[in-house]
Amino acid sequence: MAGLELLSDQGYRLDGRKATELRKVQARMGVFAQADGSAYLEQGNTKALAVVYGPHEMRGSRSRTLHDRAVINCQYSMATFSTAERKRRPHGDRKSTEMSLHLKQTFEAAVMTQLYPRSQIDIYVKILQSDGGNYSVCVNAATLAVIDAGIPMRDYVCACTVGFVDETPLADLCFAEESGGVSSLALALLPRGGQIALLQMDARLHQDHLETLIEAAMTACKGVSKVLDEVVRQHLQERSVLSGE
């Protein structure tokens, strides 16, 4: 297929990054006073808002109550204006449901739910602008929001996508790369222990390459975690300065 050249001979990608470079990550915590925790995160042109309520007692059907830990409830949605063509159905379609499920699994692995038996934690994530790597941006935003809510976690959960082009792994794919026929892999990592919270890939890839790809994804996730850590520290500093007055 005569597509775009995703990686030039000089080693540049379409947007001028090198293979291992991430997009620019910017984030703010505590953007909503009303919620228990909230965060806004931009990763390149993908922008997401994450809001956390809880832990609070079970709402709705009480039958789902778990007696030894908290239930994590995730909802993923995309704004109608988030893509180039207007989205008809912002949430509740098959893709969003799947994404919600993935988020739930990721955070069940990271949040110390056993501290809050018989309670519920709600995580709502909305994609405001979509430019590739939606899942990983959601995870990163939600991590910040959970931290903002003060819910104990084992570690940051950092996620990143990697693609495989010309025998080279590309970190943090943008939309043009994702749609350019790259086999991509999403990985959520607890960086300090190096534990994988979620690994998802639905493309074809030769088995021999999987290891290099996961390796690259882990490096990328660690890069993301550094940025998130910085954001959290800065946020705390601001807060402490404010409350110190």
Partner: protein, 1046 residues
């Protein structure tokens, strides 16, 4: 993690009016690839030298239109900008790939600067700014950045075809010169005439394009998305367009690639009938076809046309309707350089708009006429010219092109040979200075010696082994030697095959290596040879000559002396000194105990001589014994060789022209061949086991059974049955199909069997399942080419793989990891296509010499033009015959254009009379007023050979039946190889004489001709001569003009 500012890049695809926002990252450090760089850029790879007068930065427009000029190797210090590169990418992948290969080629002094990712050279597109202006601005700002980056140490010239830009930017005082391409060529490269001509020709073609008419000749191609969707849904199918050689006007086939089971009727290809349906596709393009409704399907014409040759695909009868379609789109153009002939100007040619536009006729009949705009129409009359096609608009009946260079007058030997090379995409420029500098020196003053460090790592066989080579007489490039001896008290035999260690001298990635890879093989034409490696290697340092120390790559087996079971195999690098350089006849004479003089032993005393001779003869005898045993073993193991086929294939690779002339079958030939096959087989095993996914092997797929139809039918007509179920059965039945009356029958049957064979190809082991590795002809499960690295690049690849495999075995780890499966597969494809080109060029040059030979003779009177021929195939209006004397195959018509048929008289003489022709499966009958005559398969007839001259295409031989009796005095078993060489020599001599004569009368050698002759070197004398000739040619034209006006 350094991240730079992010700038938004707005883009809206007009198709669906979507506004897409893309990120664009800029960085401060982008490598400039100049050796003058002060800022410590991360430069690696190709660098621009610092000692040039200037660097040149071409504008996007220049790169788009004039890339060919920038391809000249003389232009140094070219900086391509990313902006230009992207513009080229949007024009087409093919152009972009060309630029990429240009950038990769270390012989070209050019680099790519990623200006759009550089913080200071990037300029965002302004609102309302046209794309062209923006691109020019980007390139200019890149040029300015370069100037500043190199601190003004290097002059930067930007070239653009945009006049406004030239005015606007040259007034700015930024240190960058902005000039147009024409001025640039004139000011900086006044002596590069070829570039000037090319410039003129391209710009003319571009101007013409603007003034195109609007009436539509063809339907438009569908957009790419529609094609893609159509292919996926199965509405369209894609494939490569193959124009029929004989009916190029009307018939073309698309060989479809996606052979899904649902449409098996497409497996034989789709017929595209007529020019309108072909819709501007040219032979070789990858096209998308739509099937026409079944009612419009049509069959293929199978009668012989007034073309030449025979078509293998021709069915027995007017074939049944086959899938017919029309081209709706072209996925990939596959245009190459074409050779065309400018027609003679006879005044009647209608000049529609501009007298400078000429319809030139391509040499290849499958290519449509090409419209060329040129100023030199008069001087180019009847010349062969290399052209490129630029475009083919739907409004134009013919494609537009421009001329690239002139080869010479049509019909001259040198011109025709060059034509053959170019038509087969063979580029064999003389080896460049830089390449020759890489070569080791071996001259009388500075003899080449063995490096002591090398000698330490290599196994030294100089003293311990008796090494000798057996080759054809007078062979220069000896790439294989043999040794055999008894070890372990005679219980074991040690057989060694020692191959020239070419890869020691040619490092991977060196200029010589690149050149060799490009050529892929040594080209053997009828009268000359183009070597793959420079002569210092191929004829000297790599050639395993007698009596000198040479590096070799060896395979040594320890065999059980009785059973010949393999005990041990050793692969490795060695140091050898060949004791005897024998030739086949000499070796055979020694074996059969005849008295023969071994040149190496001439100066010795008789006692010593006898001892040495005995030793040599003994070695030869052991070797023959081993080879016989090896062969017998393989036969017993069920493996069997199609000996006839393989020998013939080897003949083709040698410079022997007729595949069917039997080489004097000496046993020594077989002995050597057997050893080589054995070595190849073991090396294939070794590399395949070490690198299961990336070894280069050679496979020979079993032939398609339906292709044997003609063979089986022909044999049946003669009363033989041919069993084609397996290679063993086929070879057995071929052996039995011998007519004691006529030995030619067996040869022709074998020839047909060869034709039915598929070709052996190189492949990468990762690209095929293991059961496909099989070599049908040799009946081996794995095979490769290892034994001729001097003339085949594949062998060099195998040598490198073997070296790596040895290193892996030693545990030192491969010093250099061999290429991945993808790279090896690409390499295999390249070598395969080059090998096919070499074969085609060889047969074309043979045909050329045949034509030239008969052209000199008067067909009516000269006895040499009448020959005996054997009918081997029957067609609707004629037969195909084979002339053993000259090794020529061709059609003979039984009915001519006027509807007359061949009628033999009482004495067998044939004349043309009105009548009719009836065709049966094994015979053809002509009926006329004087009776009827029948021509059967394998009948001997007498034909007259004459030459059918055409000015635009290659000449062809015309065969005419003279008598239906065998030719009197015909000696069908005449051994002709010498005769063939004589033929070639005679033609060469005649051509030289003609040239001398021409040179005496009026020196007509054009400058181009001189330039492309390899042997001549430019010197002052030739320069002066050129000037004189130019003047002479002018005066000559003046006289011509005077004559016509008078």
């Amino acid at each position: 993690m350094i991240k730079t500012e992010k700038i938004l890049h707005l883009k809206s695809c007009r198709g669906r009016k979507v506004r897409v926002v893309r990120e664009h990252y800029l960085r401060e450090r982008v490598p400039c690839y100049s050796s003058l760089c002060q800022a410590d850029c991360g430069n690696d790879g190709k660098l621009l030298p610092g000692d040039l007068t200037h660097y040149v930065v071409p504008d996007a427009g220049v790169v788009l239109d004039y890339l060919e000029i920038l391809e000249f190797r003389e232009l140094q210090g070219v900086v391509f900008t990313q902006t230009a590169c992207q513009a080229l990418q949007s024009k087409g992948r093919r152009y972009y790939n060309r630029l990429r290969s240009l950038l990769r080629d270390p012989r070209h002094d050019c680099v790519l600067f990623a200006n759009e990712f550089q913080e200071y050279s990037y300029c965002p597109r302004e609102k309302g700014e046209s794309q062209e202006r923006w691109q020019t601005r980007c390139v200019y700002s890149a040029a300015v950045w370069y100037y500043n980056h190199l601190a003004g140490m290097m002059n930067i010239v930007m070239i653009t075809e945009d006049r406004v830009a030239v005015d606007q930017y040259s007034s700015l005082n930024s240190g960058v010169f902005v000039v147009s391409l024409q001025d640039y060529l004139q000011d900086f490269w006044p002596e590069l005439a070829a570039a000037h001509e090319l410039y003129a020709s391209i710009s003319q073609a571009l101007q013409e394009k603007e003034g195109e008419g609007t009436e539509r000749e063809y339907s438009e191609h569908l957009p790419a998305e529609v094609l893609e969707a159509g292919i996926k849904s199965g509405r369209y199918s894609q494939g490569t367009l193959n124009v029929s050689k004989h009916r190029a006007q009307n018939e073309a086939f698309v060989q479809t690639e996606d052979l899904s089971d649902k449409n098996t009727d497409l497996s034989s290809g789709v017929l595209v009938f007529g020019g309108k349906n072909r819709n501007r596709a040219v032979h070789g393009d990858r096209v998308v076809v739509e099937l026409l409704p079944r009612s419009e399907w049509r069959g293929q014409v199978t009668s012989l046309t007034e073309g030449q040759g025979e078509d293998r695909s021709g069915e027995d009868s007017r074939s049944k309707p086959m899938p017919t379609g029309r081209v709706v789109g072209i996925l990939q153009r596959n245009w190459r350089d074409y050779v065309v002939t400018f027609p003679t100007r006879d005044g009647t040619q209608s000049q529609t708009r501009n007298s400078q536009r000429i319809l030139a006729v391509p040499w290849d009949r499958r290519i449509p006429k090409i419209r060329i705009s040129t100023q030199q129409a008069d001087t180019l009359q009847d010349h062969r010219v290399v052209v490129r096609i630029d475009s083919w608009e739907s409004t134009s009946l013919y494609p537009n092109g421009h001329s690239v260079r002139v080869l010479g007058r049509a019909g001259e030997l040198e011109t025709e040979v060059q034509t053959i090379l170019i038509e087969n995409c063979i580029h064999v420029p003389p080896f460049s200075e830089a390449q020759l500098r890489e070569m080791p020196v071996n001259s009388p003053e500075k003899p080449w010696t063995v490096d002591p460090t090398e000698a330490a790592v290599r196994r030294d066989l100089r003293e311990s082994h008796l090494v000798f080579s057996i080759d054809p007489l007078g062979c220069e490039d000896v790439d294989d030697t043999l040794s055999v001896r008894r070890v372990a008290g005679g219980k074991l035999l040690e057989l060694g095959v020692h191959i020239a260690d070419v890869t020691h001298f040619v490092a991977e990635g060196s200029l010589t290596d690149l050149e060799a890879r490009m050529r892929a093989t040594t080209y053997y034409l009828a009268d000359r040879r183009y070597d793959m490696l420079p002569a210092v290697l191929s004829a000297d340092l790599c050639s395993l000559l007698g009596g000198v120390d040479r590096y070799a790559m060896s395979v040594m087996w320890e065999l059980d002396a009785q059973t010949l079971a393999v005990h041990k195999v050793w692969f490795g690098r060695t140091l050898i000194r060949s004791s005897y350089q024998l030739h086949y006849e000499l070796a055979q004479a020694l074996l059969s105990g005849e008295q023969a003089v071994v040149p190496e032993l001439v100066g010795l005393g008789s006692k010593e001589k006898d001892a040495k001779l005995a030793q040599l003869v003994q070695a030869l005898e052991t070797l023959t014994h081993v080879a016989r045993q090896l062969r017998a073993q393989r036969d017993q193991g069920g493996a069997l060789e199609l000996e006839g086929v393989e020998v013939r294939a080897q003949l083709d690779e040698d410079r022997n022209i007729t595949a069917l002339v039997p080489r004097q079958p000496l046993e020594v030939h077989e002995t050597v061949a057997e050893c080589m096959i054995y070595a190849n087989h073991w090396v294939a095993r070794k590399i395949q086991e070490t690198f299961p996914a990336q070894a280069l092997l050679r496979r020979h797929p079993p032939p398609r059974q339906e292709l044997f139809g003609q063979l089986v039918d022909s044999a049946k007509a003669q009363g033989f049955s041919i069993d084609t179920r397996s290679n063993k059965a086929l070879a057995d039945s071929l052996d039995q199909a011998v007519d004691s009356q006529d030995p030619l029958v067996n040869r022709i049957l074998r020839m047909m069997a060869t034709q039915a064979m598929s070709q052996a190809v190189y492949f990468s082991t990762g690209a095929q399942p293991q059961d496909q590795y099989y070599h049908y002809g040799l009946a081996l499960d794995r095979y490769t080419h290892f034994t001729s690295p001097i003339r085949r690049y594949a062998d060099m690849v195998v040598h490198r793989l073997l070296t790596a495999a040895i290193e892996v075995e030693k545990g030192t780890g491969p010093g250099k990891v061999p290429g991945s499966n993808k790279e090896v597969e690409e390499m295999a494809h390249h070598i395969n296509s080059k090998n096919r080109a070499a074969q085609r060029a060889q047969s074309l040059s043979t045909a050329l010499f045949q034509c030239l030979y008969f052209k000199e003779r008067d067909a009516q009177s000269d006895p040499r033009c009448t020959a005996d021929a054997v009918i081997y195939s029957i067609r609707d209006n004629g037969v195909l015959v084979f002339i053993p004397q000259y090794g020529v195959k061709g059609p003979v018509y039984m009915r001519n254009k006027d509807g007359q048929v061949v009628a033999p008289g009482p004495d067998g003489r044939c004349e043309w009379q009105s009548g009719s022709v009836r065709r049966f499966s094994d015979r053809i009958t002509t009926t006329s007023s004087s009776g009827s005559a029948t021509f059967r398969l394998f009948d001997h007839i007498t034909v007259r050979i004459s030459v059918l001259s055409t000015s635009c295409h290659a000449d062809s031989l015309n065969l005419e039946v003279v008598s239906n009796e065998p030719h009197r005095g015909a000696q069908p078993e005449q051994p002709r190889p010498q005769g063939r060489n004589q033929l070639v020599q005679e033609v060469v001599r005649l051509a030289e004489e003609a040239q001398e004569k021409a040179a005496q009368q009026l020196p007509k050698l054009s400058r181009e001709e001189r330039e492309f002759r390899q042997s001549k070197t430019p010197n002052l004398y030739s320069l002066l001569e050129e000037v004189r000739e130019l003047a002479l040619m002018d005066t000559e034209r003046v006289t011509q003009v005077c004559a016509t006006t008078a």
